[in-house]
Amino acid sequence: MSDIISVNGTPQRLPDDPRTSLLDFLRQHIGLTGTKKGCDHGQCGACTVIVNGIRINSCLTLAAMHDGDEVTTIEGLGTPDRPSDLQKAFLEHDGFQCGYCTPGQICSATAMLQEIANDWPSDASEDLEGPPQLTGEEIRERMSGNLCRCGAYANIVAAIREVAEKSA
């Protein structure tokens, strides 16, 4: 197969075995181990990456299905020297303990801020048509696909809220 996927701006050849999930491709084939595997069944969100601007679970999709797509992983959002706003806010607010869920949380939150900017409603939105309000309830509902075994939720919400309010 000569299919190409772009990962953090670098073109990569897609794997030959069609069974390879996008998650295993990122971690095992091209060595980007920032994206984590929690459940491998779409339940925990540790594997969240951004594909063509949209957040998805990389464990429940085949790499082969992403010919021509552009993937952004946690490594593509920032570096230790130049962290993204959300990466900085997670540090400042102690938005993690063990850190295992954190790459997924930050990828998810990054795309979530765009969804709010697009005025997309959530199950917590009282009004389906107006712009969403930035309540804690909205953030929790929109982030419900990212579980944290350490229970750092309160600080995760605080970190996201700070960045969301700044960009709003």
Partner: protein, 328 residues
């Protein structure tokens, strides 16, 4: 996962042909199929990735309704301005399901065809007539908390787990299907899913090689539209019971009550007699109880899911009492 061959048909004709002749399984978002392939509940030898055959659009129909492409995502559907304005019960049902990441990948066609969440079905070490015909039903005498109370059979008591289709049933939408010999047919959503009967492996009316191309919504129906999902936690869980309701009132009496229920059966449950019992009546507790009596006349629990019988009744009250106020 078992090895499989992977292909990308480019047209609907090619897709129906590889599914019909080569025994390929269609993969759309993959969020249900890949999950089941990892568990070896599904073991296709070929996958036809149908994401490049078109049918990803959401378009107005000539009749004034809306056509939801089968390959459009659940997210694209729920955030579409016309879905939010004209079919809020559908937007709400979709947004109540799964998570943003999953809805971003899940497609409308795949959502309709998602398999049951019965944990005997998803565990290949357990007996299950749906997965392995004739092996027995683990759930009937086992852990049946999520299971059906209406339309069950001796063979299978599983539920259809989705939310979107419950709203589509209340809206009386229809499913557009491309057949293996190049023809088209349309089936009302209310007739798309099957009861288990003696063929529990058959979950919907799709024949070999058929692919869903779109879901068609009727012209806007108005009314007060509500989707109420009762679940074990307030987000990110499948419904124990759900109710989709489109209600109108005039002079304090119901003039319209289109109701469909999730979590109760092997299909979204629509019993026209339930709504009919409300028409011309005031929204009193007695009226709603009479409608619930009709809904639940043949209900049967299997121990762990007995609670669904009173829960369905309460959910109906919880939906109709405020709906009546909103529509008054």
């Amino acid at each position: 996962m078992r090895p499989f061959a992977y292909g990308r048909p480019r047209t609907i004709e090619e897709a129906t042909r590889v599914v019909a002749d080569d025994g390929a399984m269609a993969i759309a978002g993959g969020t249900n199929l890949l999950d089941l392939m990892k568990l070896q509940v599904e073991t296709p030898e070929k996958l036809a990735d149908i994401n490049r055959i078109g049918f990803g659009e959401i378009e107005d129909t000539q009749a004034g309704g809306l056509s939801l492409g089968a390959l459009a995502t659940n997210t694209a559907t729920a955030v579409h301005p016309r879905v939010r304005a004209d079919y809020p019960v559908l937007a709400r049902a979709i947004l109540s399901g799964a998570t943003q990441q999953l809805r971003n990948k899940a497609t409308n066609g795949g959502n309709l065809c998602q398999r049951t969440r019965c944990f005997y079905f998803t565990n290949v070490d357990q007996p299950c007539n749906k997965r392995d015909p004739g092996s027995g039903c683990g759930a009937i005498d086992g852990v049946a908390k999520l299971h059906a109370i209406l339309g069950t059979s001796e063979q299978c008591i599983a539920t259809y787990p989705g939310d979107m289709a419950v709203a589509l049933s209340a809206l009386d939408a229809s499913v557009d299907i491309a057949t293996a010999n190049g023809e088209k047919r349309t089936v009302p959503v209310r007739e798309f899913h099957c009861l288990p009967g003696d063929t529990p492996w058959r979950e919907n009316v799709l024949e070999e090689g058929e692919i869903i191309t779109a879901i068609t919504l009727p012209p806007p129906v108005g009314g007060t539209q509500i989707y109420r999902k009762v679940r074990e936690r307030s987000s990110y869980a499948f419904a124990l019971v759900s109710v989709a309701a489109i209600v109108e009132m005039e002079d304090g009496l119901f003039t319209r009550a289109d109701l469909a229920f999730g979590g109760l059966a092997h299909k979204p449950w629509h019993d026209p007699r339930v709504g009919e019992a409300l028409i011309g009546q005031p929204p009193t507790s007695e009226t709603i109880d009479r409608a619930a009596d009709i809904l639940l006349a043949d209900a049967r629990g299997f121990g762990e899911n007995d609670f669904k019988i009173p829960l369905a009744r309460r959910a109906l009250h919880a939906v109709l009492e405020p709906a009546a106020e909103g529509a008054g």
